[in-house]
C-alpha cells in the first residue's frame, strides 16, 4: 500500500496543471481516488460530513449484485449440462458458467470505461463512477449465449447515445444498462429472444423456453414449480433467474439506503394489482396464473431491485416514486400478457416510465407548490 501511495505521489506533478500529462489529469484522478480516499477537506462554508460519495454508492450496488452474479454463473453451467443430459458437481458447472460470463463482463467494462475515459479527457471533466454499476448490469441482463461483439456495440451505444451526449453520469434520461439491452433486442431480435438463446450451447432436442416463453404459447402446464422459479434454476438472462439472490441484494440496498424501498414496494404492488385484475378478467390461461408468479418469473425481480431504482432515471420526488413504481409494475405485467411480440415486459415498462419520470416529478412539484400557496393564503386571511 505504502509503495502504491509513494508511486502515485511521485507521478502526481506530471498530471497537475503545467505538467507533462496535463491533458490526462482526469484519468489520473480517477485511478487515484479509486485506490485511496481523497485527503482533500472542505475548509469553509456549509458542508455535510459523510463518508459516502459516488464511488462508495456504486460499490455498494456492485456488492449487492454479487449474489445474483454468482448464482447466475452457476446457473449458466447448470442449465448447459442439464440440457446435455449430464450431471456434474458444483465446480465444473461453475467453471463452465465462468467461461461464458466472465468474457461478457470484461468486454462490457473495457468498452464502457474506455469510452468514459475518452469523454472525460476530451471534455475535461472527472471520470464518473456510474459505469461501475452499468458495466456489471449489462452482462447480467444478457442471455448467456450472446456474442461478444454485440455486447461491445450495445455498451458503446448505451454509453455514448444513452449517457454521454446528455452530459455524462447523472444526466441520462434512460437507464444505460436497459438502453444497451433494448438496443440489442430491437437490432438483433433473433439473438435476444426465442427459445434458443437462454441456455449456452444447448442440445438441440432440449426445450430451452423460459417460463414466460411457455406462457406466451399457452403451455401453462409446462411451467416450472414455484420453488425452482424462486430459487432460479430456470433458463433466462444471466442475473435475472434467482429471485432469492436478488432479494439478498435488495436487503443490502434497502439497509444502506441506496436503493429506494418506495420504488421497490410500489413496483411489486403494481405487478400484483395487475395480476389480480387479470385473474378477475380471466379471458385466457395466461390471465389465470396466480398473481405472485409474475413476481418470480423473468426479469421482474431483477428490474424491480436494480433497474427501476436507478437514482438518475427514476422519479426524484417521494410521491412521484410511488406513482412511477406502481405504473412500472402494472405495465410490465400488461405487456407480458397482452403483447405477443415481447414475452418480457419489464425492460420496456421501465424504459417507458424512465421517459415519463420527469413529467411525474413536474406535476408532483406543481401540486406541492399550489398546496402551499393555498395554505399561505389561508394563513394570510386568518
Amino acid at each position: 500500500m505504502k509503495f502504491l501511495r509513494n508511486f502515485l505521489d511521485k507521478q502526481k506533478p506530471h498530471f497537475e496543471k503545467g505538467g507533462r500529462f496535463e491533458k490526462l489529469h482526469s484519468t489520473f484522478d480517477a485511478f487515484e481516488t479509486f485506490l485511496f480516499v481523497s485527503n482533500r477537506v472542505t475548509t469553509k462554508g456549509a458542508h455535510i460530513r459523510d463518508a459516502i460519495d459516488m464511488k462508495r454508492t456504486m460499490i455498494v450496488v456492485v456488492i449487492a449484485l454479487m449474489p445474483a452474479l454468482v448464482f447466475g454463473i452457476w446457473n449458466v453451467g447448470y442449465q448447459h449440462y442439464l440440457s446435455q443430459g449430464m450431471a456434474y458437481d458444483f465446480w465444473p458447472m461453475f467453471g463452465y458458467g465462468l467461461l461464458k460470463v466472465l468474457p461478457v463482463i470484461i468486454v462490457s467494462y473495457v468498452v464502457g470505461l474506455a469510452i468514459e475515459f475518452a469523454f472525460a479527457q476530451y471534455r475535461h471533466h472527472e471520470v464518473n463512477e456510474g459505469f461501475l454499476v452499468s458495466g456489471m448490469l449489462i452482462p447480467l441482463v444478457m442471455p448467456p449465449n450472446v456474442p461478444l461483439w454485440m455486447v461491445a456495440i450495445a455498451t458503446a451505444f448505451a454509453v455514448i447515445i444513452g449517457k454521454e451526449v446528455f452530459g455524462g453520469t447523472g444526466m441520462n434520461i434512460l437507464n444505460p444498462a436497459l438502453t444497451a439491452r433494448a438496443f440489442l433486442f430491437f437490432a438483433y431480435p433473433s439473438e435476444m429472444s426465442g427459445d434458443k438463446v437462454w441456455i449456452a450451447e444447448k442440445a438441440d432436442a432440449y426445450s430451452g423456453a423460459t417460463p414466460l416463453g411457455h406462457l406466451l404459447v399457452g403451455e401453462v402446464d409446462k411451467l416450472p414449480s414455484d420453488m425452482s422459479m424462486f430459487l432460479g434454476t430456470i433458463p433466462g438472462s444471466v442475473g435475472e433467474t434467482s429471485t432469492l439472490a436478488i432479494l439478498l441484494g435488495a436487503v443490502l440496498l434497502i439497509a444502506t439506503g441506496i436503493g429506494s424501498w418506495r420504488i421497490m414496494v410500489s413496483v411489486v404492488g403494481g405487478g400484483l394489482a395487475m395480476g389480480l385484475l387479470f385473474n378477475l378478467w380471466g379471458a385466457n390461461a395466461y390471465m389465470n396464473i396466480p398473481a405472485y408468479q409474475h413476481l418470480i418469473m423473468g426479469g421482474f425481480a431483477f428490474g424491480t431491485v436494480f433497474m427501476a431504482t436507478d437514482p438518475v432515471s427514476a422519479s426524484q420526488t417521494k410521491r412521484g416514486k410511488y406513482i412511477y413504481g406502481f405504473l412500472i409494475g402494472m405495465i410490465a405485467v400488461l405487456i407480458r400478457v397482452f403483447n405477443p411480440a415481447y414475452p418480457e415486459g419489464m425492460m420496456l415498462s421501465i424504459l417507458l416510465l424512465n421517459v415519463f419520470a420527469p413529467l411525474i416529478d413536474h406535476y408532483v412539484v406543481q401540486s406541492n407548490i399550489s398546496k402551499r400557496l393555498k395554505r399561505a393564503k389561508v394563513l394570510a386571511k386568518a
Binding site: I173, N339, P340, N354, L359, H362
Partner: protein
C-alpha cells in the same frame, strides 16, 4: 363499445402519431421547451383532431368516396371524387384551426403569445392531416369510431409532447456537448423515447 375502446388505446399508444409514425415533428420539436406551453399546444391538437377527423369522415362518406353521392341522385352513383380528398381535408383543417386560434386568443392571451406562430401552423401540422388520411385509409365504420380515433391520436401526441417537454426542462441543467445543444439532443431524445414506446408495438387489439 369494445371496438371503440380498442381504437382509442391503439391510437394513443400503439399507433402513436409521434413515436410510431413520426408525424407532427416540427411543432413537437419547436414548442416542447416548457411543460406549460406544450400542454397548451397539446390540448389544441387534441381539439383540432377531435373535430376535423369526424367532419372529414362525414365529408368522405357522403361526398368524396366512390359512389358516395348516390344519396343525391341515382345518376351520380358511379362518381368518384376521392382525388379531391387532400384539398377538402386541408380546407376543413384550416377553418378549424382558425376557430381554435380565436378561442385561444380570447380566453388565454398568455398561451396565445407563447405558442406564437405554431398555433396557426397547426393547420399544416402533419399529424392533423395524417389523422384524416389514416381515417380514410383504415376505413372506420361509424362517425363514433372516427371521433374516438381523432381524440385518441390527439391524446397520444399530447402525451409525447408533454413528456419530452418535462425531460427538456430537466435537461437544462445538463452539460450537453456544445454541437448537440438545442435541436440535436432533442432529436436523439426523440429517438430514445421512440425505443421506449416500442414496448407497445405488436400488441393485437
Amino acid at each position: 363499445m369494445q371496438e371503440l375502446f380498442n381504437i382509442f388505446i391503439r391510437s394513443i399508444f400503439i399507433d402513436n402519431m409521434v413515436f410510431a409514425y413520426f408525424l407532427g415533428m416540427c411543432s413537437f420539436l419547436a414548442v416542447s421547451k416548457t411543460v406549460n406551453t406544450s400542454v397548451g399546444l397539446g390540448i389544441a391538437v387534441v381539439f383540432v383532431l377531435g373535430i376535423t377527423v369526424p367532419v372529414d369522415y362525414l365529408l368522405n362518406e357522403y361526398v368524396l368516396k366512390a359512389g358516395a353521392l348516390a344519396w343525391l341522385d341515382e345518376s351520380l352513383a358511379d362518381m368518384d371524387l376521392s382525388f379531391l380528398s387532400f384539398i377538402m381535408f386541408i380546407a376543413i383543417i384550416a377553418s378549424m384551426v382558425q376557430l381554435v386560434e380565436m378561442v385561444v386568443e380570447k380566453f388565454s392571451p398568455a398561451l396565445y403569445s407563447s405558442l406564437g406562430i405554431f398555433l396557426p401552423l397547426i393547420a399544416v401540422n402533419c399529424a392533423i392531416l395524417g389523422g384524416s388520411l389514416f381515417m380514410q385509409e383504415r376505413e372506420y365504420q361509424t362517425v363514433a369510431q372516427a371521433t374516438v380515433f381523432g381524440i385518441g391520436s390527439g391524446i397520444g401526441w399530447f402525451l409525447a409532447i408533454v413528456g419530452i417537454a418535462a425531460i427538456r426542462e430537466k435537461m437544462r441543467y445538463s452539460n450537453i456537448p456544445a454541437p448537440l445543444r438545442g435541436l440535436g439532443i432533442t432529436f436523439i431524445l426523440t429517438g430514445l423515447m421512440g425505443i421506449a414506446f416500442m414496448s407497445f408495438l405488436g400488441i393485437k387489439l
